[in-house]
Symmetry: D2
Subunit: 360 residues, 4 copies
Amino acid sequence: MPSEFGNKLRVSIFGQSHGKAIGCVVDGFPSGEEIDFDALDRFLDRRRGGKNKHSTPRAEADKPEFLSGVENGKTCAFPLCAVIKNGDTRSKDYSALQYTPRPGHADLTAYFKWGENADMRGGGHFSGRLTAPICIAGGIAKQILERRGIFVGAHISQIAGVKDVPFPMIPEKKMLDEISLKTIPVIDDGAGERMLLEIEKARMDLDSVGGIVECAVTGLPEGLGGPMFDGVENRLAKAVFGIPAVKGVEFGEGFHAAKMRGSENNDAFYFDENGRILSKSNHAGGILGGITTGMPIVLRAAFKPTPSIARRQKTVNLETCENTEIEISGRHDPCVVIRAVPVVEAVCALAVLDMLLEGK
Amino acid sequence: MPSEFGNKLRVSIFGQSHGKAIGCVVDGFPSGEEIDFDALDRFLDRRRGGKNKHSTPRAEADKPEFLSGVENGKTCAFPLCAVIKNGDTRSKDYSALQYTPRPGHADLTAYFKWGENADMRGGGHFSGRLTAPICIAGGIAKQILERRGIFVGAHISQIAGVKDVPFPMIPEKKMLDEISLKTIPVIDDGAGERMLLEIEKARMDLDSVGGIVECAVTGLPEGLGGPMFDGVENRLAKAVFGIPAVKGVEFGEGFHAAKMRGSENNDAFYFDENGRILSKSNHAGGILGGITTGMPIVLRAAFKPTPSIARRQKTVNLETCENTEIEISGRHDPCVVIRAVPVVEAVCALAVLDMLLEGK
Amino acid sequence: MPSEFGNKLRVSIFGQSHGKAIGCVVDGFPSGEEIDFDALDRFLDRRRGGKNKHSTPRAEADKPEFLSGVENGKTCAFPLCAVIKNGDTRSKDYSALQYTPRPGHADLTAYFKWGENADMRGGGHFSGRLTAPICIAGGIAKQILERRGIFVGAHISQIAGVKDVPFPMIPEKKMLDEISLKTIPVIDDGAGERMLLEIEKARMDLDSVGGIVECAVTGLPEGLGGPMFDGVENRLAKAVFGIPAVKGVEFGEGFHAAKMRGSENNDAFYFDENGRILSKSNHAGGILGGITTGMPIVLRAAFKPTPSIARRQKTVNLETCENTEIEISGRHDPCVVIRAVPVVEAVCALAVLDMLLEGK
Amino acid sequence: MPSEFGNKLRVSIFGQSHGKAIGCVVDGFPSGEEIDFDALDRFLDRRRGGKNKHSTPRAEADKPEFLSGVENGKTCAFPLCAVIKNGDTRSKDYSALQYTPRPGHADLTAYFKWGENADMRGGGHFSGRLTAPICIAGGIAKQILERRGIFVGAHISQIAGVKDVPFPMIPEKKMLDEISLKTIPVIDDGAGERMLLEIEKARMDLDSVGGIVECAVTGLPEGLGGPMFDGVENRLAKAVFGIPAVKGVEFGEGFHAAKMRGSENNDAFYFDENGRILSKSNHAGGILGGITTGMPIVLRAAFKPTPSIARRQKTVNLETCENTEIEISGRHDPCVVIRAVPVVEAVCALAVLDMLLEGK
């Protein structure tokens, strides 16, 4: 179904941006797993808006409430349901837009699909706000994975034309943790500052910018996944394309591999001193034939620039059937990429935990 | 399951490269659909090797045999099974490699997953040969779609550093047909010749090259797909990553969107003279919020360079547990991208037909 | 996943008997469907306890709260989430039982599966209380079906040894409505009174009784379902066996067909005056080859006697690893069958709507 | 999809009764499992017709051919495809019936669903012949289970009004083996002879009889399955209702439990001398809360009498739109129950192996 993914760990997301609440149901978490609610809150904080001028001013102070699946701070074998009440919504910002679909948004395609039945205030179920419950589920998945020595971390790889340095071949937990604490989660802080300048320039131009998030998963056992259509790439891609605004996903060298020679791109295998088989490079991004090699999974997700911009834009009026123009007021990020970093981690953690639970 | 995909149209692939046969089962084709076996054979021919020096010399003359699901040349409501017998296999080419996994291949990860139980002769179930049954299924799906005015076509967008021109905003059926007849399926034949030179150079260097395939789907109704995890991008990505050697998938502007401003990337909507809502550009690749806009779907898939190269490579010996080197003889394409073009069309046609059958 | 079912209409149930809340998420309801909340409440009322001495004295006055998927009283295209807060729970009733699994319950099997991690207070996620959110989802499905001329109704076919008369071949909506208003939903009120006597006798004996619910679905189009494993029987059975205490499901003549001759059991087809093909009898229960015939679907579900009885019972102590005995106090129905009637209707309505949305 | 079932072990059946071949694809068998082809053939023999006057005279001597998934007599990690060529078909037997749907068959519902597109010669994909590939898959599953100490066996519980004795609480492998060797697989051979008389009587009357098959699974670990909709009963029922002519499925006491008191039906737990928790009775049929108790699973499936009878029957003519009568010649079992016994074992073995592979 549209708002679900996973095989053995099934994640279901519900809610509309301006409805009563948003939330998730996760069926399949291992039982007896302690949840560190403070750590979870810090993780959710990374996604939250309202903290600085680079993000949407909508405050979402409210914390998740756990309706089921957690008892005495531990997962209790049954589906976990967590909800966040929608408090600070200003639907009137959107009422003017009801018949004038915003370019780059799902307004028009939702109209094509459901006519006027869809609750599209504030983007409805398509809103970036729906990534909050994804992060609740994914934040818990990250904790469960960490307990097994598996770490999921991401950084901004690019915003506008500014690039961060790539992850080293095996990013240490320490590095991933440090990045996660930064306001602009990058490896090279100089690049981060230049990214901020680009975002600020776009904002002054009543415009927005896109970017790329790079995510790594370390400590994974080899042998997860499988051939063809349900392998590691397929499942991660299915999950990552579920994040609003993602238009591309690549693994290892990805699109760059198209320019490489086989002799460059092949990763040579060797036995390390402990008798474990590793590779000297990781162009494959930790995946061969849809199955994990034991090297880190590396993926990159491309985000398009925020479609909500303050500039006047051409669109149609669905009521009068005339061409028209709109200006979007509302509250919007000039760049969603910063807040998207933990969301990419969240869906990757969920997809990876799902594969781990399936086992070899 | 690993070797299946689709919701309402379920495609299942079986067979190993050097086993008795390979084939597909497709459950859910509409009934009463005529199959043009000549057209299907021409389609399969585009994928077949043995035709020129740029492709593998293994001849696969044998045609598919339909065991079920087709009667009197029409789909007959029940699961379609088609098989291709494996005739021309030279397993001894591979026996030397049994304990020395080839870099860039699934040999090692299959070993991690199944030990010595997996039949990995010639790549086993991971072999590019398994794309033949995908093309049988996809070739039929293409015919069914064409009957409904929906056309799926692809071209080589890039090989090594050489780029073809991109598709026009709305590629005509005539253009797609013409490309499909070319030995090197490109729009700009000059680029095609330069690509061949790159492939030939790589071959002379005992090496290989990668590339990018661009695929378009025209004539699609608007409103297919859905939000989040089962939308158009998710489903197409899941299907396309099922093709061996694909390491990246992007839609519309894809990774390039990361460098764009919102004002550039947003597609302005307008009513055309027939009262249909279109957009003046198609940066979105025909998809907003996971739902079709009615503009063509445009996707690109990145293929890594063929991992099988004739050069000496470092690897491990799983029997002696020592580091070692191998040379791969066998028969291999220095570039899989040419033969991959119809395969990309095939999986896209299947995924699109699946969504069409689900309807709005 | 365990707590989900459906293909195109996906129903997910969460919550534990003594947790914070119970609820459902339903992905796939048609959009723009009005919900008659009063009718829904009357439907939920049929399942609620606390009304008379034949049912559990636990009061569940609280109404469902709709968190998503409903706006202005209509389904709004996105997943519907409804929750019921758990107010009146007396967990201490159960604390004594933590290490002494109740015979006939899931206490022991949950312990086998999850050790002490499962929240099994009051039966946890296995509790009959979890049928309340099933009824919210199913009650809405019933309304959507009724709008399309499809009616789902059930009656008690048997309790202990007392049998009601069976449904007529085509039960009218009026009959189904009348049954639904009765305290004991039967066709023959005399039988109903004798059933009450049996329940009362069991209660006086500190014991419980089982029974059978018969459910009919009228007005269904022909041609829904399919051969083999995803046909009408398979899907309805999968849904009905999801109700706690169900141990058997049969369609049409069901187990009785085992005693019949083909000449008796075959339903003769004929054209009625309107040129519609009907059958003169409905031994098939409206299903041939897993596909609807257009005649009413008729199924029966067997419920075992309530396992919670006040008598002293033998069991084990998981802590001391000794054989022991228990007495269950708590609050329990001596017969769940009365309250199960709307639950059977609910899961059937959901499964039928799911098939209807898939179409032919 | 209609012709598939299973979560981790995915079974797909293809073919029409009078098409080129019938077969199965099974994705997910453990790798490296030896297949005893002689034992498999003996198992298939139990289902085959043509051996005596009680079964259809159609000879199906041909053996399965394995196209993939098996190398050197072992499962080789990839999807297993086995086919049986259709040799001995006499389609002309059926041509007369094309427009006169046979009562009790899927002819009419297939026509409702697919019009004249469906290949319904000999029942098409609905034919009992399609149980042959189910038995190939299930026969292999049985061997894999036996290697793990899990045994699946069945007997005829009832034909017409004649009943066999029920299984003892824990049927030994020896008993299951002995039953499987009998022409009439029953425990009490006297009952078997009376059953034969009933079948013979029906045959002389140009009629047919139904029956019940009882199946047991012993040696299963506790803790398999789960609550609600994907538990042991749900999954087994979904599989068993996939067998043509099954109209009812029950577990443990099943429908009889409806007449019992809780004090009778509850199974008292106790520690045996090895510290294992067992129950003194097994009214639950080895399942509580959808999860295995470790006691044998016991289920019964009700088969309707063969709908193909030689008597004149009333039906419709779809071409002339008139009521009419038919006589079915062809070759048909007066009772399918004898040959159904291994089929019930096959689907149970597949469903149980699927659950076992999912693990706790």
